[in-house]
């Protein structure tokens, strides 16, 4: 066979358009030499001419394979690309292209082809195939975090958790090395979700979150650590910092106490002392602190020490009052009291922005801002008021009530009765039985100042149980639930809160009779006055004229002229003035859903003694009910309720006790509802437990039958804390856990509650954490469950922008003035000032001496003004003015902007000089006349623009509002 002749004949046939015949000729050669690349290529071309893409692709592929084998990679690439054009569905060709590019060290292109294949498999749901490709991508570019995270996601989807964790781990390490902390946090979160036992990671994340003032997320991580070891020093320390950052002083104190005890248990007395000092700084009147102080004082005439306090005192090391004020550890200082405390105006700015966020319903953002405020000013009353309003609006009852208490405590301390009235009304409406209510009433119904006196008197007296009764005999009358109670139901829709009824907002006077529930009376009989604020607090004193917060205006609610009859859900104290037209409280009020059992208020079991100061006198020293205090009324926090039991016990005792002298108690209807627990002391003398708690057990049984496990658990926890070995409760708990196993996850491990006092306390903290986290932890958990999507991974702007600029360099030449100019405008709009200046500078180089140069210089000047670099700004405008084309309207505009820059630089004389020149050119130009008038009063005009002006020492100041160059104005 003469190959050349055949080729020649075939070429003639092709020239005639006889493609089929030509193909047959070529096939003769291929039969003999199937690897003849030249012929294979010809065949491919012929089939392409015949529009037989499939055959053409096949022949080109064979050619490409041959080239690949022979090492002609570039030729192979060209042919494979040809093949893809012919038949894009040949997805494997992309793999070949990727491999070839890999050989050619063109990693970007290789990755792109792999990505196409991965996307293809992904689209088809072929995870395994996708995995293979992604593995190649990760091998190819180990630093490509996006690929690695995607690969990890796919592993998760395939249930290959070990491999997934490995990839997440490597991605996280890379991100950490690259100092991309935001991205690191996201990836590490995924890792933490997959490996919840990695306590080191959880703690590291918590620390990072705390550094970013994201206490909520920090708490989520600390909860994991806490569950693993509730006595871990570092965990407790971080917890305290987190709670402090959230402005939750009572919880901070409780954690500090636990931390101090943990130190004591380890024999680290000096560390414990430091922590106790922290507690005393936060709350000098804390019962435990006082008990420790009392241990130093001679005991002779003191009344008998309550049992628990005595234990605390005995266990406590010698109190050393002469400690320096700043006792925070280094880490605490780093988080809780960072250097560079924001100025008041910064806080004010944060609060203003918070209002904006609230307005747009961005509650999370608003809370984030408030946390920033709390981190530096935990006692900022405005912030607490706003936080309360936000939690109410977002229907977060637990947090709302917590903040309501905080607000009232702060008002109590400042004695700002007028401003506190709406909040007082709110708590009376929501939970009149809260033990602190009498304190609030007592302190806030009189003008500021009386509180302090009262506190001192009470402290001096040292008879906690009798203080309030003694001081309030004339004022406090305990009565039946009033016939008429004020109903205040709130409709919360999105971010709007509408009060349907308002409570009296007039400050209570000393002559008013307060119709209180027995719970109030019981609480009043034993509740101490709230401790004074921490050092530094008290700035709000001057704000007493501000009756309502800014938030009030946002949520100004329509008021009903007449009080509505009570729904019965929330019996509130009846104020005498209720027949009079009631003023709007102006604050949002929570509407807590009715409980399943009519008339029984699970959220606020009447008489529950949540008072933290009471606890040490009643319960074992490890039990620290202050943690529980703030969760009163929290329906969602089932566990927290349970943990309050020991405190509840005190109220039972109080309930059963004789009413204080002069105070007539008629049992409130609500008090006849099932009572969750009995006091420890009382339990000794009480009837058999089974009998005592039978109603509660019945109720729990009912809830279990209804599938309301949280409610059931709440009750059973309470019983089991009071009676750890209660057989029926234990049995029901087991049943309930079993029943709940298939449904909602059990919130906490309840067995901790039975491990003695210390265990209870720790468990309380866990419950508190759970309560604190609320829905947040569920939100966090969600992606963990179905995290395969990896949607939470975000690419940083810096990364994208860097790549974008790199790409631009290839497509936009430096001499392309218009495009650089346009890009400058684009960057300016995005706030990328330096990049914008850079673009205008490049653009200017290409148009020197032209009209466009003035535009570039003008833009540079404006940008420098925006940046606050007025010297540069002035220089740019002066340069623009020096060009020949700067005449007429252009000159006017440039001088106006120059004047503004001068003004920003503090050179008012020159500014005035320029404004006058503009006025000379066109008196009606923009608002030049106003500027001239304004500056003429303070400066004399200077017209020396020859040398570029120097910036004033200490930096310039922004130009006055009217004098700023045109930025964003709506004017044509």
């Amino acid at each position: 066979m003469d190959k050349n002749k055949i080729i020649e004949a075939a070429a003639k046939l092709v020239a005639k358009g006889a493609y089929d015949k030509a193909i047959k000729e070529y096939q003769k050669i291929l039969e003999i030499d199937p690897k003849d690349v030249r012929i294979l290529q010809k065949m491919g071309e012929l089939y392409q001419k015949k529009n037989d893409s499939s055959q053409a692709a096949q022949f080109f592929t064979r050619v490409a394979e041959s080239y690949t084998t022979d090492g002609f990679f570039l030729k192979a690439v060209a042919l494979y690309k040809q093949v893809l054009k012919l038949d894009p569905s040949l997805i494997d060709i992309n793999i070949k292209l990727a491999e070839l590019h890999q050989h050619l060290q063109l990693l970007g292109e290789a990755m792109a082809y792999y990505q196409i294949v991965a996307n293809h498999h992904d689209k088809l749901g072929d995870t395994r195939a996708s995995l293979d490709v992604l593995k190649k991508m990760v091998d190819l570019d180990p630093d490509n975090v996006a690929s690695r995270v995607k690969l990890a996601d796919l592993y998760v989807r395939e249930g290959m958790n070990g491999e997934a964790m490995g990839e997440f781990q490597r991605a996280a390490e890379h991100l950490k090395r690259s100092n991309r902390i935001d991205d690191y946090l996201r990836v590490a979160e995924r890792l933490s979700a997959m490996d919840p036992n990695n306590l080191g990671l959880a703690r590291e994340l918590a620390e990072l979150y705390l550094q970013r003032n994201d206490q909520k997320r920090a708490l989520a991580k600390l909860q994991i650590c806490f569950k693993a070891d509730s006595r871990d020093i570092e965990t407790l320390r971080l917890l305290a910092v987190a709670f402090q950052g959230l402005g939750q002083t009572s919880k901070t104190i409780s954690v500090y106490k636990e931390l101090a005890r943990a130190y004591e248990d380890r024999g680290q007395q000096s560390e414990a002392e430091q922590v106790w000092l922290q507690v005393s700084q936060l709350d000098p009147n804390d019962p435990d602190v006082q008990a420790r102080e009392a241990a130093l004082a001679p005991p002779p005439s003191a009344p008998p020490m309550p049992v628990a306090s005595a234990v605390v005192t005995a266990a406590a090391p010698v109190y050393q009052p002469a400690q320096p004020a700043q006792q925070a550890t280094a880490a605490q200082a780093a988080y809780a009291a960072p250097a560079g405390r924001p100025k008041t105006d910064n806080i004010s700015k944060l609060l203003t922005e918070t209002d904006v966020y609230v307005k747009y319903g961005l509650h999370d953002k608003a809370l984030e801002h408030l946390r920033k405020v709390f981190s530096v000013e935990p006692e900022n009353i405005d912030a607490h008021e706003k936080a309360y309003a936000i939690y109410v609006a977002s229907n977060n009852h637990a947090q709302a009530f917590e903040q309501l208490l905080n607000v009232l405590r702060l008002h109590t301390r400042s004695g700002d009765g007028a401003r506190a009235q709406p909040y007082l009304a709110a708590i009376l409406q929501q939970n009149p039985g809260h033990p602190e209510v009498p304190v609030f009433l007592s302190a806030l119904r009189v003008a500021g100042g009386a509180t302090g006196t009262q506190q001192e008197a009470e402290q001096d007296g040292g008879h906690d149980d009798a203080i309030l009764v003694d001081s309030s005999d004339d004022d406090v009358i305990v009565a039946d639930e009033p016939d008429e109670v004020i109903s205040a139901e709130v409709a919360v829709t999105g971010d709007e809160v509408v009060e349907e009824a308002a409570l009296a907002d007039e400050p209570l006077t000393s002559n008013e009779e307060l119709l209180m529930t027995p719970a109030d009376a019981a609480a009043a009989a034993r509740v101490d006055v709230e401790p004074p604020p921490v050092a530094g607090y008290g700035d709000d004193g001057g704000a007493s004229d501000q009756v309502v917060s800014d938030f009030d205006q946002e949520y100004a609610a329509p008021q009903l002229d007449e009080p509505e009859p009570s729904t019965g859900e929330f019996p509130v104290a009846d104020l005498e003035e209720q027949d009079e037209p009631t003023g709007g409280t102006g604050i949002p009020v929570m509407s807590i859903p009715a409980t399943t059992a009519p008339g029984y208020d699970f959220d606020a079991p009447p008489g529950l003694g949540d008072d933290e100061h009471e606890a040490p006198t009643r319960v074992a020293p490890r039990l620290d009910p202050s943690l529980l205090k703030t969760t009163v009324g929290v329906k969602s926090s089932a566990v927290a309720h349970g943990r309050r039991a020991p405190v509840e016990e005190t109220s039972f005792e109080d309930l059963d006790a004789e009413p204080p002298t002069g105070v007539g108690i008629v049992p409130d209807e609500a008090f006849e509802q099932p009572t969750p627990a009995q006091p420890i002391e009382e339990a000794v003398e009480a009837p058999p437990e089974e009998e005592t708690a039978s109603e509660e057990c019945d109720e729990a049984t009912f809830f279990i039958e209804q599938g309301l496990y949280d409610e059931a658990r709440e009750i059973l926890d309470t019983i089991l804390i009071a009676y750890p070995d209660h057989p029926r409760a234990t049995q029901l708990m087991a049943q309930m856990e079993q029943a709940a196993a298939g449904g909602a996850p059990a919130p906490e491990a309840p067995d901790a509650g039975s491990n003695g006092a210390a265990g209870r306390d720790a468990f309380d903290l866990a419950a508190e954490l759970a309560s604190e986290l609320g829905d947040f932890s569920q939100e966090q958990a969600a992606p963990e469950v179905g995290s395969a999507g990896g949607d939470d991974y975000q690419v940083s702007v810096e990364e994208v922008f860097a790549e974008f600029k790199k790409g631009l360099e290839k497509v936009v030449k430096p001499e392309d003035v218009d495009t650089h100019y346009d890009l400058g405008v684009a960057y300016k709009e995005m706030g990328l000032i330096d990049d914008a200046v850079s673009e205008f500078s490049i653009a200017r180089k290409g148009c020197v001496g032209k009209r466009k140069e003035i535009d570039c210089l003008s833009m540079i000047g404006l940008l420098q003004t925006m940046k606050g670099d007025f010297a540069q700004s002035v220089e740019a405008f002066l340069q623009a003015l020096q060009t020949e084309l700067a005449k007429g309207d252009v000159e006017k505009a440039l001088r106006y902007d120059l004047a503004s820059a001068y003004e920003g630089a503090g050179q008012t004389g020159r500014a005035l000089g320029q404004y006058l020149r503009v006025q000379g050119l066109d008196g009606a130009f923009r608002d030049v006349a106003a500027h001239v008038e304004r500056l003429s009063a303070v400066a004399t005009p200077e017209d020396d623009e020859a040398p570029p002006p120097q910036p004033p020492a200490g930096g310039g100041r922004p130009p006055s509002g009217g004098g700023r160059p045109a930025r964003k104005v709506g004017y044509v």
Binding site: A112, Q794, V795, S796, E803, D822, V825, I854, D889, V972
Partner: protein
């Protein structure tokens, strides 16, 4: 509000094309670019990633002539649609004067449309804008596809407020200029309002 430069006597208006990934935002800009008089358009900056997706943003400056002696220029931008470019989207939305939401009519992209619309609302709010007040139009793109949801259904889900909306087939230009004209009109109306 739009940026006015008195010395260059220019008004620059920023219009952002928003929407889920692969909905056709870039295609809209490409069509506009291809069909616009060369004298009135700048360079179309459209960089893509290795996977042929928009890198950072597409950008097309257009001139609309003069209004009261000011050259009026519209800068059209697209955002990257993939969820993990949210930070980029936020940046691009800064200083926006008008928004075009390009919805993908395919039934399987409904969720992505809704998510993107929510994302737009949130990101605008973060910049201090209210989607209900910003000049805003919607384009239901890919009307030619067999799996397209009915316009009525799209309207119910994505356009409860009844802003101007248009069916579109971006590669062939259906609805592309209608959409642009509608949003431009709203932006100019706002601009005039600002001058009153």
């Amino acid at each position: 509000m739009s940026f006015i430069n008195y010395s260059s006597r220019e008004i620059n208006c920023k219009i952002v094309y928003y929407g889920p990934g692969l909905c056709g935002k870039t295609t809209n800009l490409q069509y506009i670019y291809n069909k616009t008089n060369p004298e009135t358009k700048g360079k179309l900056i459209s960089l893509s990633t290795e996977t042929d997706r928009t890198l950072f943003f597409d950008f097309l400056p257009l001139s609309l002539g003069e209004i009261r002696g000011f050259k009026t220029r519209f800068h059209l931008y697209t955002v990257p649609g993939q969820v993990f470019y949210d930070a980029s989207r936020k940046l691009i939305l800064k200083g926006v004067d008008g928004v075009v939401f390009v919805a993908d009519s395919q039934v399987e992209r409904m969720e992505a449309n809704i998510e993107s619309m929510d994302n737009l609302r949130v990101n605008l709010a973060e910049q201090g804008y209210d989607l209900n007040k910003v000049p805003f139009v919607i384009q239901y793109n890919k009307r030619d596809l067999p799996n397209a949801v009915s316009e009525e259904e799209l309207r119910n889900v994505l356009n409860p407020r009844g802003v101007p909306d248009f069916p579109g087939v971006a590669p062939t230009g259906v609805g592309v200029f209608d959409t642009l004209k509608a949003v431009a009109k709203l932006v100019l109306t706002e601009l005039k309002k600002g001058g009153q």
